[in-house]
């Protein structure tokens, strides 16, 4: 028996995984252990699988993912801090056959942009929202976010977040789920292979919902920020499982499809 050569193995028919062409070759600026990289990849893979590159418009926020347009090869609009849902609203209404999504962090979406996200969702804008919640302001250097947990130290809550001084962490996803204009609300994470698969399914569903014109799809990704949290990537995942998931439990909060889509459609009409 002759020896197996590497060339015999590296054949197209043997491939089980490849980098989607929708992701560019630009070197990502994200820190090691950050959840943005995987989340970007999932969005890009979904766009490729649905074959909607030519019809997708992304809206990037202010925050770590402000430069998302360098990594996902689609047309992008870069929004002012918190205003991505307003841009997406107009874009979708003016080009209703396009797929429009916002990609926002917790400071952008739940603090400065709280009004825009609530009203876009309440109008049932037919868009997809990717909400990356790492409970901290990453880009500006680790300040307290609206989603920062009680007791969690940050640059602007150096002794840990205290309710009396800083207010409570905001479960904005639970708020969004109450709104009749919203079709799908789910909370996922990307810290294990199983979680990544689930998150991808959720993102895909969020985009598919746009074709079904049933209202807003909102996907929260509970994320890590090793640099902001000042612990290693491995420790960050552990800390997230222990603390973040307790306050921000994973799973679907609302699914119009399961809850009876026909009734739902009648309601929004």
């Amino acid at each position: 028996m002759s020896e197996i050569q590497i060339q015999d193995i590296i054949k197209k028919e043997n491939f089980v995984y490849g980098k989607t062409k929708i992701l560019t070759d630009n070197v990502m600026h994200y820190c090691p252990g950050c959840s943005h990289g995987v989340t970007h990849k999932l969005v890009a893979e979904v766009i490729e699988e649905l074959d909607i590159q030519e019809k997708t418009i992304g809206v990037s926020p202010v925050g770590c993912s402000v430069l998302a347009y360098n990594y996902i090869d689609i047309d992008w609009q870069q929004a002012a801090h918190g205003r991505a849902p307003a841009l997406a609203t107009a874009t979708k209404r003016l080009m209703p056959d396009h797929y429009v999504f916002t990609y926002q962090g917790d400071g952008d979406l739940a603090s400065i942009g709280a009004a825009e996200i609530l009203h876009a969702c309440n109008r049932g804008e037919n868009i997809t929202v990717i909400f990356v919640n790492n409970a901290i302001y990453g880009m500006t250097g680790g300040q307290m976010a609206p989603t920062t947990l009680i007791g969690m130290p940050t640059a602007t809550s150096p002794y840990g977040r205290q309710a009396a001084l800083h207010g409570y962490p905001l479960k904005i996803t639970e708020l969004i789920a109450q709104l009749p204009g919203v079709a799908y609300v789910t909370r996922q994470s990307v810290h294990t292979p199983a979680a990544v698969r689930k998150a991808k399914k959720a993102i895909k569903k969020g985009f598919e919902n746009q074709a079904r014109k049933i209202g807003t799809s909102f996907i929260e990704i509970v994320s890590t920020c090793s640099s902001g949290w000042k612990i290693s990537p491995v420790e960050s995942n552990r800390w997230m499982e222990e603390h973040m998931f307790k306050f921000y439990p994973l799973g679907d909060l609302k699914d119009a499809e399961k809850d009876n889509e026909e009734d739902y459609r009648k309601f929004i009409e």
Partner: protein, 362 residues
């Protein structure tokens, strides 16, 4: 020639938007301009031309909806009044930075703060000297009649797309609320996708096709050197606009010894004041800037060689007068007369102010 209609200045804005093929209006109610969105909602243009009309949750949201719509190469507009425009300034700066064409309408009311709902011209600085952050300019048209309210919607879009820059109609509560005859133009169809590709295909975010690189509507460049290059490009564009787009009107300036300078509703009042002056033997004339940016600096400078003095008449504490002084550069005396906080001066008051100015007072 089009149909003749009687309408309010605010209604004229709404009618003109539908007639000129506007794709989207996004706004928030505020006095004295709410009739613009009210008229659009009554007219339901989404059933005829396909124009989108949306009441946003705030002025902040409206201006950012414009950013999204403008980035798609669509003809989008908003309208508001002074405090609402203040809220929009961040978004306006982003639109200018990202070079996105759109149309804004400010039906100015008295300030500062919540001020009053009566007419004012105290947003001149805000409109022509920046307002928002960074070095940017808005192409600013100042209508003095309901007809111009109507005409400047189409003209504003034309200039906005010609230069990829936001344009603004700087109106006030007088012109917004008063009724006049308007010659209505024929309905222009909205741009088709193919026309948008032709006009804005090199930058609009209409979806990345295989034959081109992705388009990004952004004002961000973290590298200072690149941001400076971008600013050079913007400044070159502003100089070109200054050279090509100055618009003004003159009334009895040929033999004028004293010049009134006024825009918008103040110009209407000054026209009557010039007539009164002439009947009294005072050789007065009027220069009315139609574009308050770019400003008719050259013409003001020329007239400084002819007249003995200039009086800037504004419904403000004296804002445009600084541009008159810069143009005149000390050649002849320049002064300001204004009523403000929502008060409208009468032609008689302007005449008295001019007589006082001629006699060496202020």
């Amino acid at each position: 020639m089009g149909e003749l209609k009687l309408m309010k200045g605010n209604e004229a804005i709404a009618e003109a938007a539908i007639h000129c093929g506007c794709d989207g209006y996004f706004g928030y109610p505020i006095t004295p301009q709410s009739e613009i969105m009210e008229t659009l909602m009554v007219e339901k243009p989404w059933e005829t031309t396909g124009m989108v009309v949306l009441q946003a949750e705030s002025e902040v949201a409206s201006i950012n909806m414009l950013y999204g719509g403008a980035a798609c190469g669509k003809k989008v507009m908003t309208s508001s009044s002074s405090p609402g425009i203040s809220l929009m300034l961040e978004g306006i700066s982003y639109l200018a930075g990202a070079e996105l064409p759109c149309l804004l309408v400010n039906v100015v009311r008295g300030g500062p703060g919540l001020g009053t709902i009566q007419p004012s011209q105290a947003d001149y600085y805000q409109t022509t000297k920046g307002g928002g952050h960074g070095d940017y300019q808005l192409i600013a048209l100042a209508p003095a009649s309901v007809q111009e309210m109507y005409d400047f919607v189409d003209l504003g879009f034309e200039l906005a797309f010609k230069y990829r820059n936001p344009a603004i109609i700087l109106s006030d509560g007088v012109i917004g609320q008063m009724m006049e005859k308007v010659i209505v133009s024929d309905v222009k169809p909205r741009w088709t996708d193919a026309e948008i590709q032709k006009i804005s295909g090199s930058w609009a975010t209409t979806g990345k096709t295989k034959d081109r690189a992705r388009h990004i509507a952004t004002s961000l460049d973290l590298e200072a050197e690149k941001q400076e290059i971008h600013n050079h490009k913007l400044q070159a564009k502003y100089r070109e606009i200054e050279n090509k787009e100055v618009r003004f009107e003159e009334f009895q300036t040929k033999d004028a010894e004293y010049l009134l300078v006024a825009y918008g509703s103040s110009a209407r009042i000054c026209q009557k004041a010039v007539e009164i002056c002439r009947s009294k033997g005072i050789k007065a004339g009027l220069l009315r800037p139609i574009t308050v940016w770019p400003y008719p600096t050259k013409r003001v400078a020329e007239l400084a060689h002819q007249v003995k003095g200039m009086l800037s008449v504004e419904m403000s504490a004296g804002q445009m007068v600084t541009d008159v002084r810069l143009a005149v550069s000390g050649k002849v005396p320049v002064s300001h007369f204004g009523r403000y906080g929502g008060v409208i001066p009468s032609p008689g008051e302007v005449v008295v102010a001019l007589e006082k100015f001629i006699n060496g007072g202020n």
